[in-house]
Amino acid sequence: MSSTLVGSSVAGDPGSLQRTKPRYGEKVIKGILVMAAGVSVLTTFGIVLSILIPSIEFFSEVPIQDFLFGTEWTPLFADGEFGVVPLVTGTLVITGIAIVIAIPFGLGAAVYLSEFASPRVRKTVKPTLEVLAGIPTVVFGFFALEFLTQVVLVKIWPDIDIFNALSAGLIMGVMIIPTIASLSEDAMSAVPSGMRDGSYALGSSKRQTAMFVVIPAALSGIVAAFVLGISRAIGETMIVTIAAGLQPNLSFNPLEGMQTMTSYIAAAGSGDLSTGSIEYKSIFAVGLLLFIITFFMNTISIGLVRKFRQVYQ
C-alpha cells in the first residue's frame, strides 16, 4: 500500500494515487474470516432447528403441561409417562450441591491469588488450577463413583446408594472451581491498583480491601464467572451419567441416585430407540428444555454483567 504511494510521489504523478492493483489476497482473507464466523452461527441455527422440529412433533403427542408438570418419567415403559419434573429436580439437586462447593472455594481461591499470594505463588498455582479444568469429565465421573462414593461416603452414610447425587454434585463442584476461580481472579486483577492504594491509604487491611473495594469493583466479572460455572454444571453430562445413576427419582435426598436431563439424553441417545418413536422424540424435548434453561441463564448473566459493570478511566 505504502509502496504505491511512495512510488507515485517519486514519479510526481498525482493521478497514480489511485489503487493500481486489485487486492485479491485481502478479499480471500475476508472471505475465509466470514466463513469462520458463519460456521458457528449456522451450526447454532442447525442445532436449534434439529431440536425444535422433533420437539414440536413430541408435543403434538404429549401435552406440554403433562411434560412440564408431570412427576413420572417412564418413557421406556409400554405405556410411558413423560413428566420431566424428576429430571429437573435431579439436575437442580446436583447443580445445587456443585454450586455450594464451587462458589465459596472458587471465590476464596480467586481472592487469595489476586490479593494475598506473592507473584511467585500466583505464577505457580494459577496454571495448576487451570490444569484441573482440563481433566476429562469421564475421569471425574469414575473418581466420584469409585473413590468418593465407595471409599469415603459409605463410611459416613453406610446406607448411601452406590449411584448417588451427593458424590456427583461434590465432584462436579470440584470440577467447576477452576472455572470460577480463574475468571474471578482475572476480574479482580483487572481492578486498577490505584483503587487498592486508595483503600490501604484509608487504613484498611488486605481483607477489608478485598471485601469492600476489590470484590465490589470486580463484581460483574465475578457474577459472570458464577453463572458460567452454573451453566457448566447444568450442562455437565459425564459425571452424572457415571456417578448419579440413571433412575429418574423425584427426591431431594442427595444420598439417593438421580437422573438429570443431560444423563437421560446421554443414556437414551446411546440406547436402541427406534428413530421417530415417541421415546426418541422425548430426547429432543428434554434437550429443548435444557437449551432454554441455559439460554435463560446466559441472558441473566449478560444482564448482570451490564448492571454491575464499572468503567475505569
Partner: protein, 278 residues
C-alpha cells in the same frame, strides 16, 4: 515578684519555647534509602515537615519523589520487593518500628493519589464515609462529616443535591476533590498528595490549590508536583530531588520555597526551577 522567681519563670518560658519548637516538626524523614529488589532508587533523604505547613517535593520524573512520599504512610512496603532503610518519625517516634500498626499510621497520615481513585461501586456519600467504614471508626452524625469534608475539599456546592449518585459520574476534577474529602473524613494530621493535579484541567487545579491552602491551616501537607508555579503558589518549603543516570535519587537542596525558587544555592536547582532541564 522577686528576681529569683522571675528568672525561674523566664527559664521555664524558654524551656516551653524550645519544646514547642521541637514539637513543631510533625513528621521527619531520617536518612531514608529505598531499594526495589537490588536496585537502589533513593539515598539518604533527610527532610523535616513542620506542623501545619505545606512542603513541596519537586524534581524530574524518576527521581524517587513518589517512592519517597509512599514511605511516609508505609504504603511503600506493599510493593513486592521493596526495601527501606532509615527512619520516618511521626511525632518523634519511628513509624517503622516493630510495634507500630501500619493501619494506625495510615489513619493519621492520609493520602491523595495522582489518578483520582474513588470507589466506583459506592455513591458520593459512601466514598466520603468509606474510610470510617473500612477502619471501623465509630463516629456519629455522618451527615455532618459528609458536608464538612466536602466543603473543605471545595466540592459541596457541586454535589450536595446528588450525594447518592455514583462516584464514577463525576468529572476527573470532582473525583479528585471527592477523594480529598474521603481522606479528610478520618481526620488525618498529615495529608500526602502525589501529583494531585497532574490529571486535571487548570480550573480544577486552582480549586484544589485553594483547598490545599485552606487545609494547611489545620494539617501538615506534603505534595509532590511537577508544576513549578504550583509549588510556588501552595508551598512553604520545598525539597528538590534529583537522580543522576543509574544512580539513586537524593535531595539536592531544600529550604523555604522562596529561597529555593528565588535564591537557590545549587546550580542544578537553579537550572531546574528555571525550566532548563527535567
Amino acid at each position: 515578684m522577686s528576681t529569683a522567681e522571675f528568672n525561674t519563670l523566664t527559664s521555664l518560658e524558654g524551656e516551653l519555647m524550645s519544646q514547642r519548637e521541637t514539637a513543631e516538626i510533625e513528621m521527619a524523614a531520617r536518612d531514608i534509602s529505598v531499594w526495589f529488589g537490588k536496585r537502589k532508587v533513593l539515598e539518604g533523604v533527610n527532610i523535616d515537615f513542620p506542623k501545619r505547613s505545606v512542603t513541596a517535593l519537586i524534581g524530574p520524573s524518576g527521581c524517587g519523589k513518589s517512592t519517597f512520599i509512599r514511605t511516609l504512610n508505609r504504603l511503600h512496603e506493599l510493593i513486592p520487593g521493596a526495601a527501606l532503610a532509615g527512619q520516618v518519625l511521626y511525632e518523634g517516634s519511628d513509624i517503622y518500628s516493630r510495634d507500630v500498626d501500619p493501619v494506625q499510621i495510615r489513619l493519621k497520615v492520609g493520602m491523595v493519589f495522582q489518578k483520582p481513585n474513588p470507589f466506583p461501586s459506592m455513591t458520593i456519600r459512601g466514598n466520603v464515609l468509606s474510610g470510617l467504614k473500612l477502619s471501623g471508626m465509630k463516629r456519629d452524625n455522618h451527615d455532618d462529616i459528609v458536608e464538612k469534608t466536602l466543603r473543605s475539599a471545595g466540592l459541596w456546592n457541586e454535589v450536595k443535591d446528588r450525594l447518592n449518585a455514583a462516584a464514577g459520574d463525576l468529572s476527573g476534577g470532582q473525583q479528585q476533590r471527592l477523594v480529598i474529602a474521603r481522606a479528610l473524613a478520618v481526620q488525618p494530621h498529615v495529608l500526602l498528595m502525589d501529583e494531585p493535579c497532574s490529571a486535571l484541567d487548570p480550573a480544577s487545579t486552582l480549586k484544589i490549590e485553594e483547598t490545599i491552602r485552606e487545609l494547611s491551616k489545620e494539617m501538615t501537607i506534603i505534595i509532590v508536583t511537577h508544576n513549578m508555579q504550583q509549588a510556588v503558589r501552595v508551598s512553604d518549603s520545598t525539597a528538590f530531588f534529583l537522580a543522576a543516570e543509574n544512580e539513586p535519587g537524593h535531595v539536592v537542596e531544600q529550604g523555604a520555597t522562596t529561597e529555593i525558587f528565588g535564591n537557590p544555592q545549587d546550580q542544578r536547582t537553579l537550572d531546574y526551577v528555571n525550566g532548563r532541564f527535567g
